[in-house]
Point group: C2
């Protein structure tokens, strides 16, 4: 009955490069546009906002492998490799002959995959002499990770936390403060973007789009300050490919290759992180590994991939960012207050948007209640309480399992992007029957898209 | 600059036996006594309360190695081995030439070491046909672990959670409920023990001693129900030796042997768990490994090891348990409401009590504020927010480091028994300057000891 459950890599096998799928994409992403001139933007145009190295990575269409700096790799070693786990418990609970694996990013000290990009972003800022970093955070996972990474490299961090999350998740605020970060609920009166929102709607509960506007404004108006984003952008997804690159080696140790790769979807970084290293074989159609399906699981209340429109749109609510070619619900879209705060974002990253357009991946939308049902089933089967965001990946996995024929032995790999120990209030609501589903009509989406520009 | 940070064991190297120090102790622990007759009790006398296998382990003075059942070892593989970590960040923050290692039990899915004993206890109950388990929980770590272990083996779990913790830590309650456990704040009106306390003091905030009384009473009065304890008893400590046995192999991988082993101290199971496998070499004085010091770090507000008296005392408030030979503050002692809820217990396990008496180990007491100072320093240095209990071990480690001479290369190993992500309200209080220290006078201890029996 002894079966190997967890696969680890030796420290010297932790990847030395991130994988840049932009070098391999059959159709390259369209460039970001300057909103005033609608001219394509170059990396240099982004330097005032982001660390320079991140800007270069963002628009790098040629280098397949980007070296992970030694300083970053040394910090990765504190929690990487994360385990690849064969989910025997979940398989048994589902009565399936599928082989289900998950990459357990929840063992990161901050409880999620976000640290994978927080460390390099803070490092690059430090390297170019920046003293302050600022960002937004929804569920608080990204804010906590950047706060810790900033403290590691001696930077000051200022975080705008979406107000509903600031209030619902005080523990995340405390985590950020433990690492010395300054945390402000967004919208706030500290920025023009925040003031405008509060003037129009004094009871605004905030959104990621608004919090991004506030952080970008702070970065623009503060000397020695750069902005760092936790998802959506291509350089963030690049950093997250360490997940899939590890998983690829670990699946080899298990003697398997995934037929389906699944991750939850907010802006696309954890999805791209686990998917792209496998997708490169599909693009190259090499080694007979071209059959793998890639499934992004988004919330039904914020369905940009399944119901949004591919268009140029802003990344933030106030329209401070470049125009990005993305599947979007419109940058003025205010998502419902679902508990998966990390998935409450109106748009999808440019790489994922292009890949979806080109049929290299799929998307499904998951109702809030279905996501928590899946999360509780997983918790009881595997002993890990998943983050509300990760519950969407589990729900999508269960859907795939239920589609299989009796005895069919598909190999499914999903990303457990984080644990839910700091989100127990959400489970409380689910367990007491107080959760509801939110949906969005086509008319609402149309109306939001019409508002843009 | 590349330095190995984390050491893991292969799954087939996870220990196959627990280490029973009772077989090796120079002076064996005195037996538990029947409170009515004051006659020594045998394992069979404990069968009505605990799983039979646990009772046999409790009083086993002869077998050095107790086999870990295959079913338990398979479940251990879901999170074991836990990493042994070289704390380079902490060393740097302290500017020390000591080599500091910690065993990271916080990566267990329940966030602490408690699962190591919850799994075998639930397994043994299942094996003998028991349908229900009941227990107490202070901080909630043990209750969460037993709830999960019970669900793994298809048992119903009823948990009495100390009322102050039930109110201060709603997330832990939700975690238990997610695994299907029934959670009751203690003292409650559901037992005679609870009613008596509430009648005398309607505002009682509860204590571990009271919650134990309630759970024991439930086990005694419910068919097919056994009680499971999370610390103090010798069989619990036995199960926890998996920590030290792993650490011993991992220290070998690192090419080092600890000069000092440190753990926080509530009832003694995490302390014994990491210490005893190393202490066996000290007892045998073999391989030149007899110099190691073992330091238990208890809270200054509940100082049974440093200020208590060695005597026969009850393990619970109501006096339902056998009389145990222990360092105690008196079983009526009501500890102050420190945030390290898991350390709020009046007595020490019988093995540890005997070892302290015989000079094989030491104890220090740590003030609440010193513990959180140490916890924050560690968090910023290593990125892991430690449980308030574990902060005591870190504080004791820092004290040892500060005693070293310039350049002295001692090897220190401490147990990071759990993370504090569900205890952020406590960090909040510390960061906002609202925490206070609690101390206990000799007179208070005398008065409590006088109350007993």
């Amino acid at each position: 009955m002894s079966q190997k459950k967890r696969y680890f890599l030796e420290e010297d096998e932790i990847p030395r490069n991130w994988y840049n799928i932009q070098a391999d994409m059959p159709v390259k992403p369209m460039p970001p546009l300057n909103p005033q001139t609608r001219e394509p933007m170059k990396a240099e145009d982004l330097y005032p906002i982001f660390a320079r190295e991140c800007c270069d990575q963002e628009l790098n269409m040629t280098d397949r492998w980007i070296p992970i700096p030694d300083e970053v790799r040394e910090m990765y070693k504190y929690y990487r490799s994360t385990p690849l786990v064969r989910a025997y418990g979940l398989e048994k609970a589902l009565g399936t002959s599928a082989h289900i694996y998950f990459k357990n990013e929840s063992v990161s000290p901050m409880g999620s995959h976000k640290l994978n990009s927080a460390i390099p972003q803070a490092y690059y800022c430090k390297k170019e002499g920046v003293k302050n970093v600022t960002t937004e955070t929804g569920a608080g996972q990204w804010g906590a990770s950047l706060s810790y990474a900033a403290s590691l490299f001696g930077l000051e961090a200022a975080v705008y936390q979406v107000k509903i999350s600031y209030e619902q998740k005080p523990y995340r605020r405390s985590i950020m403060q433990t690492f010395g970060a300054q945390v402000t609920p967004s919208p706030s009166m500290s920025t023009r973007a925040g003031k405008n929102i509060l003037t129009a709607n004094p009871n605004s509960q905030g959104s990621l789009g608004t919090a991004i506007s506030e952080a970008v404004e702070l970065a623009r108006t503060t000397p020695d300050c750069k902005y760092a984003l936790g998802s959506v952008l291509s350089h963030v997804t690049l950093h997250q490919t360490v997940i899939g690159l590890e998983a690829e080696k670990q699946m080899e140790m298990a003697g398997e290759y995934p037929d389906i790769v699944i991750a939850c979807f907010g802006g696309g970084s954890n999805f791209g992180g686990i998917s792209f290293p496998f997708m490169r074989h599909k693009i190259a159609a090499e080694n007979g590994k071209s059959h793998t399906r890639f499934v992004a699981a988004e919330p039904a209340s914020c369905p940009k991939l399944t119901k949004g429109k591919f268009c140029y749109d802003f990344g933030d609510e106030a329209g401070y960012t470049p125009l990005l070619p993305m599947f979007s619900l419109g940058h003025k879209f205010q998502p419902a207050n679902i508990h998966a705060g990390g998935l409450r974002y109106h748009g999808a990253g440019v790489i994922v948007s292009q890949l979806l357009k080109d049929g290299l991946m799929e998307a499904v939308d998951i109702d809030q209640i279905e996501s928590f049902e899946a999360g509780c089933l997983f918790a009881r089967a595997e002993g890990i309480i998943p983050a509300p965001e990760s519950c969407h990946a589990i729900a999508a996995t269960i859907r795939e399992v239920r589609k299989l024929k009796e005895g069919e032995e598909k190999v499914i790999l999903f990303n457990l992007s984080g644990h839910g120990l700091v989100d127990m209030a959400s489970y409380d609501k689910y367990l007491s029957g107080d959760l509801i589903n939110y949906t969005v009509t086509d008319e609402e989406i149309e109306a939001n898209l019409a508002k843009q520009q």
